[in-house]
């Protein structure tokens, strides 16, 4: 019996085709083969003999089957003419056209996704706004310079209520609109397009995008703002970011801050991006001024909240190292197709 294994090796060495292989198979596994005959004898054996012979025969059968399969696979592989089928794989692939999102859209989506992951809702408001929501409701004094024609665009037409209209100068205009419709606690972000009366050059635009975040509740403080800002920027830049607050002034927040983030490029050591200070100024923030809550119809000193805003273009320019802000609205596909 043990010789079978040796014999089959020898026979297979001479096999050159699938037909040869079939003949070998019949010799070893065919009905008249030595192995089949022995297997048939099993039925006539005593249980003890069967117990001894059965597994042995089975093992030999499996061995033969496997050997034959291996030989078959090897024969098949060599039966192809690989050379004849050879293809120049360095030829360019037939491309599927896939479009490109505008880098601002990509940045906005990324920002939105981070805030959504922290349980913020997305709010929206009109781009043509009345004077009340853009300025009055945010506690801007009547003669504040931000209302000047040098800083803001104004429209020639008034609305149906005779209110003065302007293209919103910031997304903060949505704050009171939202608060009038909703009761705290809430946390929202307001992405959107804004307009300033600003002649354009490589770093100035009259049309750009902002992000506003507003969190209002019973117990919201500056430390919470720092935490959320830190979480956001660390996620956006994918590295640990620190927040630095500096005193500032906005009519609609009190206290007010400019906020800097530690430079993601040099990790705060100082480089050309942060002008060697280790910090990059990214936006303004503050605790919502109670005047604004009152104008929104909330009771004074009942809620606390923080608001912060920053420019999307600035973040996109930092992220992609873009040096001319005018490219965003250029409609130039050489620019768009890089993203």
């Amino acid at each position: 019996m043990e010789n079978i294994a040796k014999n089959i090796e020898k026979d297979l060495d001479e096999v050159r085709s699938l037909e040869d292989l079939e003949r070998v198979r019949i010799t070893y596994l065919g009905r008249k083969s030595f192995l089949s005959e022995n297997l048939r004898l099993l039925g006539k054996m005593t249980p003890e003999e069967r117990k001894e012979q059965g597994p042995k025969l089975q093992a030999i059968k499996e061995h033969i089957t496997r050997t034959l399969d291996e030989k078959k696979y090897a024969l098949e592989q060599t039966s192809f003419d690989w050379k004849k089928d050879a293809l120049d794989i360095s030829l360019p692939g037939k491309k599927s056209p896939i479009g490109h999102f505008h880098p601002i859209t990509q940045t906005i989506r990324e920002i939105e996704d981070i805030f959504i992951s922290m349980g913020f809702d997305i709010a929206d408001g009109p781009e043509i706004e009345n004077e009340f929501y853009n300025f009055d409701a945010l506690n801007f004094p009547k003669n504040h310079p931000a209302r000047d024609m040098q800083d803001a665009y104004w429209l020639s037409e008034k609305n149906e209520k005779g209110e003065k209209l302007l293209p919103r100068t910031h997304t903060s205009s949505v704050q009171v609109r939202y608060m009038q419709e909703n009761t705290p606690p809430f946390r929202i972000i307001i992405p959107g397009k804004i307009f300033r009366h600003e002649p354009t050059d490589a770093s100035h635009e009259h049309t750009f995008h902002q992000f506003e975040a507003l969190v209002v509740g019973d117990d919201v403080n500056v430390a919470h703002f720092k935490y959320i800002a830190q979480e956001f920027f660390s996620s956006f830049f994918d590295t640990a970011i620190e927040i630095r607050l500096r005193p500032s002034f906005f009519p609609f927040t009190e206290p007010s801050f400019e906020f800097d983030i530690s430079c993601a490029v040099c990790e705060g050591k100082g480089c050309s991006v942060c002008k060697r200070t280790g910090w990059i100024e990214v936006g303004g923030a503050g605790m919502v001024n109670q005047e604004v809550f009152v104008l929104a119809g909330y009771k004074e000193n009942f809620y606390r909240g923080f608001a912060w805003g920053f420019g999307v273009e600035r973040l996109a320019m930092m992220k992609y190292k873009i040096d001319d802000i005018r490219l965003f609205h250029s409609g130039d596909l050489r620019f768009i197709r890089q993203f």
């Binding site: 599927s96 056209p97 896939i98 479009g99 490109h100 999102f101 505008h102 859209t105 805030f115 959504i116 349980g119 913020f120 809702d121 997305i122 009109p126 781009e127 043509i128 003669n143 665009y153 104004w154 429209l155 020639s156 149906e160 293209p167 606690p185 397009k193 307009f195 354009t200 009259h206 049309t207 969190v215 403080n221 500056v222 430390a223 919470h224 720092k226 830190q230 927040i243 630095r244 607050l245 500096r246 005193p247 002034f249 009190e254 206290p255 007010s256 801050f257 400019e258 605790m287 001024n289 109670q290 606390r304 965003f328 609205h329 250029s330 409609g331 130039d332 596909l333 050489r334 768009i336």
Partner: protein, 804 residues
């Protein structure tokens, strides 16, 4: 504003370098715009006098001078000089042999083009005293010859430039104000204690509303001026030398020395923040009898020559200072030329006042003049500080100009209410999220000159008059927080119930449409929301339905767009030159003005497909239509219906016979088509350009309504048949399809697909695949043949010729 570092140190009793101050101010007070170093003049440079100037014999551009640096004017140096601004008798800085000017510039005795030169006459920049290189620095004629320049200009100093917040103009546009910040940041001494020689008095208990016999002031309205103080100073020696220390400080702050009277007013302004004006008293009234001034609105036609020589015409928006004859000054902005002080001035009328910030701002904007004075008045100066500045100026006038006070007048029409704020201690922690010791809070407030009364943990805080920006306890907390240091606030997680974000359908559909379009090879662009008359005309739009900018930056950005496509189309020609074919989209708002004036904003999805290469008629349009159909099918599970566009107003820019309304489930969602040929031509667009404009709100509405359920998969085999036919030109594919669907049992027609279209001249040929299937059973051949027979009959009756 520029601040002199040594001055701040003196006032605040600190010993900080400019860099140390910069770090502190950045974190606690104001942004730092820059630091400047004022070097001391190099030793070896002395004051000299030019005795003679002659042309250099060998060089056109040079002169030979004879200069003395000897007080007795005996020893004479020959110096070659290139500057042209010198004349005999000038007092100038002379770098003597052996002086080191810059690192590598050693002055030696040398021969320049054959002429001996024993030193160098210096310009401001060469001395490191400033940036001026226009000529040799001219010194005061009174300075003794031979004096070392270090003595004249003093030791070096540092200047720090701060960006003062709009709300802090009242206190911080002064050295006293910034020194107070410094004290509070460093936890130092209270300002005003240990008063140094050059520091101002701290005023209290000064008598207000002083009466005067000679000075008559008439204020038209307290709105224009709440307080006006006038002081008549006599026996002023205006040729007196301004003291070195004052000169140095003025120079550090970027103010030129003019004469002692003007220098004192400027100095007091830099120190206290209160702008002062010095009139030559003799030029505005009769000094021995009466000076009578009006503070009033300007009147039409009144003119005034200003100190800088500019002539202005005033009107009722300006506040002016006038006597009975003429306008003397543009109040708070600039004095008049004729009433100003000069070396000959012996009587000075000193003005210290409060002027309405809004008027000042309008005036300086209209006349385009910004002065140190207008800058401060515009930020609402402290009426209480008016008298402090006067006291300080009088002190300096007496001491340095030999003046005495003849009369003093103080007209204080309206006092501001003093403000007291109740601050419960716990509010600090609940707003800032950091615990600051109570004693620290009190000490910070006191250093800022707030008066604090403590009743357990309730603080009553009395706000000084120069901090009008403080309104409620939150403002006080801001002061405490920033001076304590925001860096002490540790980030702290916001603990709130976990709540999943809700994404509204408008937001969602915009994302999905964007994803689908980019997936189909469309690039996203962004264009401006404005266009001009040319676009309005070209697209046949109505001006009245647009909002117009009152102050556009250019005429072609005058209207707010009411359509998304025009500005997008402007991006096509430049791109098509580079890219043969382009597929672009933009998602943005358009704005319409309703008849009643109300604003309607719509979010639109504009899509353009354009190819440079010629194509079969309709190919570009049908491809774009197909893309939109596929996208809508993937989002809504059904294809849209189209019908010829209804040409309402505002849609004339579409091609009359190649454009369609697109609707889904009976809701109009937008338009697809080609452009009016004249637009294609004028904008130089390829003929193969198709456009679409879809409405986000309609899509969002459908998306919200959308519910999709599963249809069981078919269990019996399908049977396929093809028909090919010749169709009269006027019959549309839709009509053929409708006819087929009308005949065949809806249950059995699984799909109907137009797979080939062949058009030539007046004839078109369609070929359809039909798929038959039943949910209940296998359909028999006979059944299907019968159906087909009836279809043939029906088509035949429409004049359609079946090709068998």
């Amino acid at each position: 504003m520029k601040y002199c570092v040594s001055w701040l140190n003196e006032l605040a009793h600190t010993h900080l370098s400019a860099e140390e101050m910069a770090e502190l101010f950045t974190r606690h007070s104001f942004e730092v715009d820059g630091i400047e170093k004022i070097k001391s003049a190099p030793s070896g440079v002395v004051v000299g006098k030019i005795l003679d100037i002659s042309l250099h014999p060998n060089a056109d551009k040079l002169q030979c001078t004879k200069v003395t640096i000897d007080p007795q004017e005996k020893e004479i140096l020959t110096i070659v000089c290139g500057a042209k601004n010198i004349t005999v008798g000038d007092i100038v800085p002379v770098a003597t042999v052996g002086t080191k000017l810059e690192e590598d510039c050693l002055i030696t005795k040398s021969t320049i083009r054959g002429e001996l030169s024993e030193g160098m006459l210096c310009a401001e920049d060469e001395l490191g005293l400033g940036k001026d290189h226009s000529g040799i620095l001219q010194l005061d004629k009174e300075i003794p010859i031979g004096t070392s320049l270090v003595e004249v200009f003093g030791q070096g100093d540092e200047v720090i430039e701060l960006d003062i917040l709009a709300s802090r103009g009242r206190d911080a546009l002064s050295h006293i104000g910034i020194a107070r910040e410094l004290s509070a940041i460093t936890g130092g001494e209270n300002l005003g204690e240990n008063r140094g020689e050059n520091t101002p008095p701290s005023l209290s208990g000064e008598k207000e509303n002083k009466e005067s016999e000679k000075i008559h002031i008439n204020i038209e309205s307290k709105k224009l001026s709440k307080r006006y103080m006038g002081v008549l100073l006599k026996s002023v020696n205006n040729t007196a030398q301004t003291p070195d220390w004052m000169m140095r400080r003025l120079r550090a702050c970027g103010v030129h020395s003019i004469n002692i009277a003007t220098d004192i007013t400027n100095y007091v302004m830099l120190e206290t923040g209160q702008p002062l004006h010095a009139f030559d008293a003799k030029k505005i009234g009769d000094v021995s009898q009466k000076i009578s001034l009006q503070i009033r609105k300007g009147r039409k036609g009144e003119r005034l020559s200003l100190l800088d020589g500019k002539e202005v015409e005033v009107n009722e928006n300006d506040i002016v200072i006038a006597n009975d004859q003429e306008v003397l000054a543009l109040a708070g902005v600039m004095g008049g030329k004729t009433s100003g002080t000069s070396k000959e001035t012996s009587s000075v009328f000193l003005e210290s006042a409060w002027f309405d910030p809004i008027s000042i701002r309008k005036t300086r904007m209209r006349h385009k003049i910004i002065t140190e004075s207008s800058y401060r008045f515009e930020r609402d100066i402290d009426p209480e500080g008016v008298s402090l500045a006067v006291a300080r100026a009088i002190e300096l006038f007496k001491k340095y100009a030999g003046a005495h006070i003849e009369e003093e007048k103080d007209l204080y029409l309206e006092k501001e209410k003093s403000v007291a704020v109740i601050l419960p201690y716990y509010e600090i922690q609940s707003l800032l999220g950091v615990s600051i010791p109570l004693e620290k809070v009190v000490s910070i407030l006191k250093l800022l000159s707030f008066k604090v009364r403590q009743d357990g943990e309730i603080l009553s805080v009395y706000v000084p008059s120069f901090r009008k920006d403080i309104r409620t306890f939150q403002y006080i907390i801001e002061e405490v927080g920033r001076l304590y240091g925001y860096d002490h606030i540790q980030p702290q997680a916001l603990i709130t119930p976990l709540r999943a974000s809700r994404e509204n359908s408008s937001h969602k559909i915009v994302r999905l449409m964007g994803n689908a379009l980019t997936g189909c090879g469309f690039d996203e662009i962004m264009t401006y929301s404005f266009y001009g008359d040319e676009t309005v005309k070209l697209f046949g739009l109505e001006k009245e339905s647009h909002f117009t900018l009152l102050n556009p930056l250019s005429p072609d950005q005058k209207y707010f767009r009411s359509k998304i496509l025009p500005n997008m189309l402007k991006a096509v020609p430049a791109n098509i030159k580079r890219f043969e074919n382009i597929n672009i989209f933009e998602i943005g708002k358009v704005y319409e003005r309703e008849d009643d004036g109300s604003v309607k904003e719509y979010q639109r999805l504009g899509i353009i497909s354009s190819q440079a290469k010629k194509e079969k008629k309709g190919e570009t349009l049908l491809r774009l239509k197909g893309t939109i159909e596929s996208i809508l099918f993937s989002l809504f599970g059904q294809y849209p219906d189209v019908s010829p566009i209804e040409f309402e107003k505002g849609l004339e820019y579409f091609h009359r016979s190649q454009s369609m309304d697109v609707s889904l489930d009976g809701v109009l969602i937008g338009f697809v088509g080609t452009l009016h040929p004249s637009i294609t031509k004028k904008m130089k667009l390829p003929e193969q350009t198709a456009v679409a404009s879809l409405d986000r709100d309609a899509l969002a509405f459908l998306f919200e309504r959308e519910s999709r359920y599963y249809t069981p998969l078919e269990r019996f085999p399908s049977v396929f048949r093809d028909i090919s036919m010749k169709v009269p030109y006027e019959i549309t594919a839709k009509e053929v399809e409708d006819a087929i669907r009308e005949i065949i049992d809806k249950e059995h027609l699984q799909s109907l697909e137009l797979f080939d279209v062949f058009e030539k001249e007046e004839e078109k040929n369609f070929a359809y695949h039909l798929e038959f299937n039943s949910r209940q059973r296998t359909l028999t051949g006979k059944e299907i043949d019968d159906s087909m027979e009836r279809v043939f009959e029906k088509l035949d009756s429409l004049g359609i010729e079946i090709r068998k």
